[in-house]
């Protein structure tokens, strides 16, 4: 077991809205070992992107701690945080809207160098930009192209190059392949896995696509309405899911095999609103096994076999 590079403890992020507090991230704890990938899965609005952003302090947390190599980065001054950001980077979902259309590929990749490594000569910068372009598989001839001239896969490679040029240790990947076609998606996933091996990167991989997450992650955490409901290594999650939500999520994936028999758990209704959620388990309104107990108190995370689960049903099986 390696040392955790990043440890998140009781992280909370509430947004004030007209109707009341929106519990986007509510008491989330996990840790990621150095060089490993944690996959964070959930439906839209479950708070997975917010979690990624709060860790990088793109949103300020309402409460909790984010320990990076044992140091709580939520307490750093903005100047110290600036230094910290060299080590922690993010790749955004939509390569169409996250790149400044008026900068060339070189300008886009160089931008973070200009911010973070002042005093570097322009020749040095150029060398670095070209190196990173090779690394992420962008042809050098594209250095003077603009984002609108490129396809989604290449744009996402720019996003990755921008994040990696500062030689970070930890990268938040916020749905990096969701906007891409399957074939391009496969290329980018392979690239991310190669880069991780080569540069010993630690990833927080945020996605709604379970098959993609399974492919790339060592550990998987499932979120529902701001709470972690289950966390385990990727094999356990897929072979022996414990939480009813994880089970439903898994069974909802269409299998590309016409002979496969699906025993699908169809969830009723939609995700309930994260604004002023009622007490008790947040999943209970859609859970087919909900008990009276579920309405009274929220289940705590507990160890069941190889997984950490928050469900009253699993208590009997707790070790």
């Amino acid at each position: 077991m390696g040392e955790p590079l990043l440890e998140v403890r009781h992280l909370k992020k509430y947004f004030p809205t007209k109707k009341g507090l929106l519990y986007a991230v509510d008491d989330v704890s996990f840790s990621i070992e150095e060089g490993k990938t944690l996959g964070l899965v959930g439906e839209s609005g479950c708070g997975k992107s917010t979690t990624g952003r709060v860790i990088l302090r793109l949103h300020e947390a309402t409460g909790g701690e984010v320990l990076y190599r044992g140091k709580n980065i939520l307490e750093l001054s903005s100047r110290e945080m600036r230094e910290m950001r060299k080590k922690m980077q993010i790749v955004f979902q939509d390569p169409y809207s996250s790149l400044n259309p008026r900068l060339s590929v070189k300008g886009l990749i160089e931008e973070s160098l200009l911010q973070q490594s002042r005093g570097m000569s322009s020749a040095e910068r150029e060398k670095k930009v070209l190196e990173i372009m090779d690394m992420v598989g962008l042809e050098r001839r594209l250095a003077h192209s603009y984002p609108h001239e490129l396809d989604g896969g290449r744009r996402q490679r720019i996003g990755i190059a921008r994040a990696l040029i500062l030689e970070p240790e930890f990268v938040v990947l916020d749905e990096p392949v969701s906007a891409l076609d399957v074939c391009v998606q496969a290329q980018i996933l392979n690239l991310l896995m190669d880069l991780q091996k080569e540069l010993k990167l630690t990833y927080l991989f945020i996605s709604h696509n379970l098959s993609v997450v399974k492919h790339i992650s060592d550990q998987i955490a499932v979120m529902y309405l701001g709470k972690l409901v289950e966390m385990a290594d990727h094999e356990t999650i897929f072979n022996a899911p414990q939480h009813p939500y994880t089970k439903a999520l898994l069974s909802a994936i269409p299998i590309p095999d016409p002979t496969a028999q699906t025993d699908r758990i169809i969830l009723e209704g939609d995700v309930t609103s994260p604004i002023n959620p009622p007490p008790g388990c947040r999943f209970r309104s859609r859970c087919r096994w909900a008990m009276p107990e579920c309405a009274q108190c929220a289940p705590e995370l507990m160890q069941v076999g190889n997984s950490t689960v928050a469900c009253h049903l699993c208590r009997g099986e707790q070790k």
Binding site: E43, S44, D151, G153, D181, V182, C183, Q185, A186, Q187, L189, N190, M193, H208, N209, L210, S211, V212, K214, H215, F238, A248, L249, L250, S251, A252, I253, P254, I255, P256, D257, P258, T259, A260, T262, R264, I266, L267, D270, V271
Partner: protein, 326 residues
């Protein structure tokens, strides 16, 4: 039965200035009565353009149908008058668009939007139409009391149900669904798929399902057409296509999806990019990316090679066994 909908040599291009985008190139396709056809391909393969041509709602200009025929129930769609066409749209052929958030009118109640369709095509009073709209909502699993609510009061999955209710309100003989679940979450997608399966049983209308998700196709389609560069490269029933794909592009497509039920080290990828539709390669359009490419592929356009009565692939090497090392 086979001639319920037949597309022969459909060719569509988009013109902008001097650029000509060859969106659909000599596409042939058939849909039988009561059949569900999956239409699979990457972005820009021409799936949506084909669907819009069937309904004759291509934006013209820039789009231009250069050739081909669409025969629906023995009528040539391109020869009909606009008036005749209006009677077909919605009543006989209906379409579900990808994004439920933008295909509903935000200032009309959902009940009114369903009524609109019914009143347009059926002779009935407003009251009857409202009654029918309520029935339709119940069919898709929404309480009829919600008919007087506005789209913004519904969630994404519910909106898509409303869109489906509108499309089905005149019991169309052919339903074209363009990526009906792409904008939705997986658990909601599962609900919609389940609903579509039920409706397929109940209404027995034919359906063209446009998607890039091979999982969804496996679940509800009878036949599959794989699109590449504006043409169908392989066609067959789902069992043949999934068990024994013969076109190298189809094979590559299957290899590039991460499979939840298998441990894979690396995904196989297709080298290169989808062809530029302004400049489609000569010969077989897939040849620059194909691992089995030979000289012949570069110059000569492959015809359909029939592997059995219904399964064909447009590849010179379709009869050869699958070569996994390539």
């Amino acid at each position: 039965m086979k001639d319920f909908l037949r597309i022969d040599g459909l060719t569509v291009e988009y013109r902008s200035g001097n650029r000509r985008v060859h969106a659909v190139n000599e596409l042939d396709l058939q849909v039988g009565e009561g059949e569900v056809l999956g239409f699979v391909g990457e972005t820009g393969a021409g799936k949506t353009t084909t669907a819009l041509s069937i309904l004759r709602i291509l934006p013209d200009p820039p789009a231009k149908v250069l050739g081909g025929k669409v025969i629906f129930k023995d009528r040539d769609i391109f020869q009909l008058s606009e008036r005749e066409m209006r009677a077909i749209r919605g009543e006989e052929i209906a379409m579900i668009f990808q994004d439920p958030m933008t295909s509903l009118d935000p200032v009309k109640t959902v009940g009114d939007q369903i009524c609109e369709m019914i009143l347009l095509h059926q002779h009935c009073s407003r009251k009857e139409a409202w009654q029918k709209a309520g029935d339709m909502l119940e069919t898709v699993g929404i309480d009829r009391e919600r008919a007087s609510e506005y789209p913004h009061q519904f969630s994404g999955g519910m909106k898509q149900r409303v869109v489906i209710a509108i499309a089905l309100s005149c019991k169309p003989a052919l339903l074209i669904a363009d990526e009906p679940t792409t904008a939705l979450d997986v658990t909601i997608q599962a609900q919609i798929l389940e609903l579509m399966k039920e409706l397929k049983k109940e209404y027995q209308s034919s359906m063209i399902l446009i998607t890039h998700d091979l999982g969804i196709v496996a679940e509800i389609c009878d036949n599959v057409a794989i699109m590449y560069a504006g043409g169908v490269v392989e066609y067959g029933n789902v069992y043949d296509i999934y068990k024994d794909p013969r076109h190298p592009y189809t094979q590559a497509l299957f290899d590039s999806i991460p499979d939840v039920h298998r441990i894979q080290d690396r995904l196989k990828v297709i080298t290169g990019l989808p062809p530029d539709p302004t400049d489609i390669p000569s010969g077989c359009p897939f040849h620059p990316r194909c691992p089995h490419c030979t000289e012949r592929c570069k110059t000569e356009k492959p015809e359909a090679v029939y592997l059995n009565e219904t399964h064909w692939a447009k590849c010179f090497h379709a009869r050869e066994g699958r070569n996994d090392n390539g």
